[in-house]
Amino acid sequence: MHTRLFVLRLAARNLRLNYKKSLAALVSIVAGFMSINLFEGYMSGAEDIFNVTYEQRFAYGDLTVHHSKAFKDSVFFDGTSYIAKEDQDKILTYLNSSGEADIISRKLNFTGLITNGNFSTTIMGEGIDVVQTEAMRSPTWTWNTSGGKPLSENVPGVILGEELGRLLKCQLKDGAVFLNPLGGYIAEERTLDCGRPQFQLSSTTQSGQSNAIFLNVSGVTNTLFRELDSRYVEIPLESAQNLMDTDGISLMNIKLKVGVDKASFQKNLIGFTKERRLDVAVSSWKENAFGIIYRQSMSFLNTLRGFFLIVILLIVGFSVVATQTRLVFERITETATLRSLGFKNRLITKIFLAEAFLLSLVGSVFGALLSFVVSYLIKKIGKFYLIGILSEKVPFTIALVPENFLYSWMIITVMTTGACYIPLRKSLRLSINEAFTQH
């Protein structure tokens, strides 16, 4: 302990004495730390947005249960593969008795036509458990309508995709403003004028009969995906089941209680469904058809991260190696003096490595501070940008995650100490005489 303190004190003193040269290495370290941390922060920010969007906004929760033939490679329901009432009850009984499920919400997908008397168009709808879905959307997306009110405030009603609303001449006076960079709307009714408030929704039941229901428009929501936004409607589950003349559902979403292990819960639930011979699939949105955009985005970002890390680490690495090599070789007489005074090579190595360690620590602290500043500035500027198929701009965010700071610091420390160790070994291989005469 005493030796360690001595080494650290000596290393700190050396850094102070050689501060001008150390400063040069420090600049490279700060740049390297910041680059890694900012990119990791961007990736974490994107992951956070995806998690909130899929788990809360789309209310998929932690796990989804659906018929094994439904949603195979598509987010659209095939119109036939329902989970029958009897099977739903079995699953619900299991979930309630396990005590690990926090919220269970059901969905029924359907297709059909919507008309307000003047205009008609095709729709892709969802019937939802209003109360449970609202709980699932909490806290960010509890109020999910950019115009009008959510279904919980106006049951029974219909929520339209924003684009569908425009097609049906629903006027939204003021657009909604996001609560925070993760999304969510401020919970207040925004004026929505659809002329005639009542809409007719019609569809064909499983037995091939035409059916129709009438609902008052409650609000409009942005579904995030352009292709969906002009066709999306959301109605209460009971209304959808009336329209489709079924007691089946297409999807059951489960949000687990805090602390419940998702993997083991999923395994147990799959075991239960197999034991009862229920023809259903249990998966997370990250694995199934709903998460395709998430998987594509993260795969793209991961590839870019690999490329980015190679380029940045090589550039920073070269710079650090150059400064550390120079620092070590300039002090070769100093190391020779220490050796002639009886210092062992091991202790000298420790002193130099401690210097490199302290340098990386100080560099990382400065890098972290600058990352905070950059992240704050980006947040302050509030830049939103479009991504591919999305109908809504997404915020450009740099998430400040402790794990990222630690990860960046570890990379930088390994690089700096490694860059110091290699020339040091070379210099210590020289005899004391050689070291004095050559330098």
Binding site: K20, K21, A24, V27, S28, V30, A31, S35, F39, Y42, K72, D73, S74, V75, F76, D78, G79, T80, T111, F119, S120, T121, T122, I123, R166, L167, T204, Q206, G208, R226, E227, L228, S230, R231, I292, I293, Q296, S297, S299, F300, L304, F308, V311, I312, I315, V316, F318, S319, V321, A322, T323, R326, Y385, L386, I387, G388, I389, L390, S391, F396
Partner: protein, 453 residues
């Protein structure tokens, strides 16, 4: 004098070859990284542009009736071109320079049913000649050949048989693996009446033939229905439209929608770069037509949202990468020059003592940096071309967010882009060297001649 400076600078680079090598590598790597990422950006740009213009029927310029783009699905009669209007516009376009082809399209919606289940569809209808032109265009064949190729069967532009082309996933939802003309296409089963859809036998009948029914509303708002056959399966390229997209011949769409009207008219140009010129000529001509029209070029978000969105994402990512790489390169460079000055303080002091001016020393350092940068950047150009060729030969496939199909990673490394970047890097190197020299050379000669600490 300059020649002498150049000689001294080159000598210094060689003398401190280790340091020069490391600084040079930083510049080479940063430059190569940006060029390769630029190559990826160009690949995306060309892929999405070609997809939007040709396979999505947008054209270089799309013409709609006023508000037609937004409202043609719910008010098709009001927001479509009559035959007279179509003739007027098409005739006027004949003498517009640079137009390669004029495409006439109907875009409509409805339900497609197999007798048991019905699914919404969005259809693009065009005449077979136009569709053939679009799918066989040299740019399509060069940039997106896989996407243009049908998954199965032959399109209505390749065969005399009448029918529709649907996406592979829609065929799965409809349980229609069989296409028209296939030996397994059971023509007799098309006339069978399905009484109970829950019976397995009904499913077998459905999937044994290529017949489907289209249901919907005609342009006048009346009910529309038509029987047709699936000729082929294709991919739109977009993940979320793979479940509901249909291509059909114009004649069939006119029969189904009960009208000879058109939703849009698109112009396909000989040269992509002349789009804005043609657009302005078109707007001038349109004044004489006495029609209320909307014009869109292919870069307009409203008509080509995926292109704009995807490219925006790529631009943001590239800008982020570019700024960070440039930042790191410039810091490394400042670092290297600073070390160089500190190491050569006594050398600089001596030069000043024998009559050199500070500006001379600065010029010496600037020339040294520029020579080093030139060599590094030339290496970077060669390295990026070699790496791009290597990557391109690997045949790696990758995803574009929201795309249904993977595409080949082909890095388009262009010389003009490299030259532009070289210029930028040279300015960067010049600025950085100038700055650091100004900061560190402002010392008295005696101070510089002191032994370096």
């Amino acid at each position: 004098m300059k020649k002498e400076f150049f000689r001294i600078a080159t000598k210094n680079i060689i003398r401190h070859w280790r340091k020069s090598l490391i600084t040079g590598l930083c510049i080479t790597l940063g430059f190569t990284g940006i060029v390769l990422l630029g190559g990826y950006m160009l690949r995306m740009e060309r892929y999405l542009t070609t997809q939007g213009i040709y396979l999505n029927h947008v054209g270089h310029v799309a013409i709609y009736k006023k508000n037609g783009l937004e409202r043609h699905l719910v008010e098709p009669l009001k927001h479509s071109f009559s035959e007279r209007e179509k003739k007027l516009i098409t005739d006027a376009l004949k003498d517009v320079e640079g137009v390669d082809r004029v495409g006439h399209f109907i875009h409509g919606q409805g339900f497609m049913t197999n007798g048991c289940g019905s699914f919404p569809f969005l259809a693009w209808a065009s005449d077979p000649e136009t569709e053939s032109y679009l799918r066989n265009h040299p740019l399509v064949q060069e940039r997106i050949p896989l996407l243009a190729k049908l998954k199965k069967g032959r399109g209505f532009w390749e065969t005399a048989a009448e029918g529709i082309v649907i996406t592979e996933r829609l065929s799965e939802l409809l349980e229609k693996p069989v296409i028209s003309g296939e030996s397994s296409d059971n023509l007799e089963a098309q006339n069978s009446i399905i009484e109970d859809c829950s019976v397995e036998e009904s499913r077998k009948i459905i999937s044994s033939h290529s017949g489907v029914q289209l249901l919907g509303f005609d342009f006048q708002g009346g009910l529309a229905a038509i029987d047709t056959n699936v000729l082929a399966h294709y991919s739109t390229g977009f993940a979320l439209s793979e479940d509901s997209s249909v291509l059909m011949p114009l004649s069939l769409a006119q029969e189904f929608f009960g009208s000879k009207r058109l939703t849009s008219i698109s112009l396909f140009l000989k040269d992509e770069d002349s789009t804005q010129d043609v657009l302005s000529v078109l707007k001038d001509k349109a004044k004489a037509w006495n029609l209320e029209l909307d014009f869109y070029d292919y870069k307009d978000q409203r008509v080509n949202p995926f292109y704009v969105g995807a490219m925006m994402f790529v631009y943001i990512m590239n800008l982020f990468f570019f700024l960070i790489v440039c930042g790191v390169v410039i810091l490394s460079l400042l670092n290297a020059i600073q070390i160089s000055i500190l190491e050569r303080k006594s050398e600089i002091g001596t030069l000043l003592a024998v009559g050199y001016k500070q500006s001379h020393i600065r010029t010496l350092f600037v020339i040294e940096s520029l020579v080093l940068a030139t060599v590094s950047l030339l290496t970077g150009i060669i390295l990026s071309f070699v790496l791009a060729m290597f990557v391109n030969s690997l045949g790696i496939q990758f995803d574009i967010v929201g795309n249904a199909e993977k595409l080949f990673l082909v890095l388009h490394v262009e010389l003009w882009f490299s030259i532009l970047l070289v210029t930028f890097f040279m300015l960067l190197v010049y600025g950085a060297t100038h700055f650091i020299c100004r900061v560190h050379l402002n010392l008295p000669v005696m101070k510089l001649l002191e032994r370096a600490d």
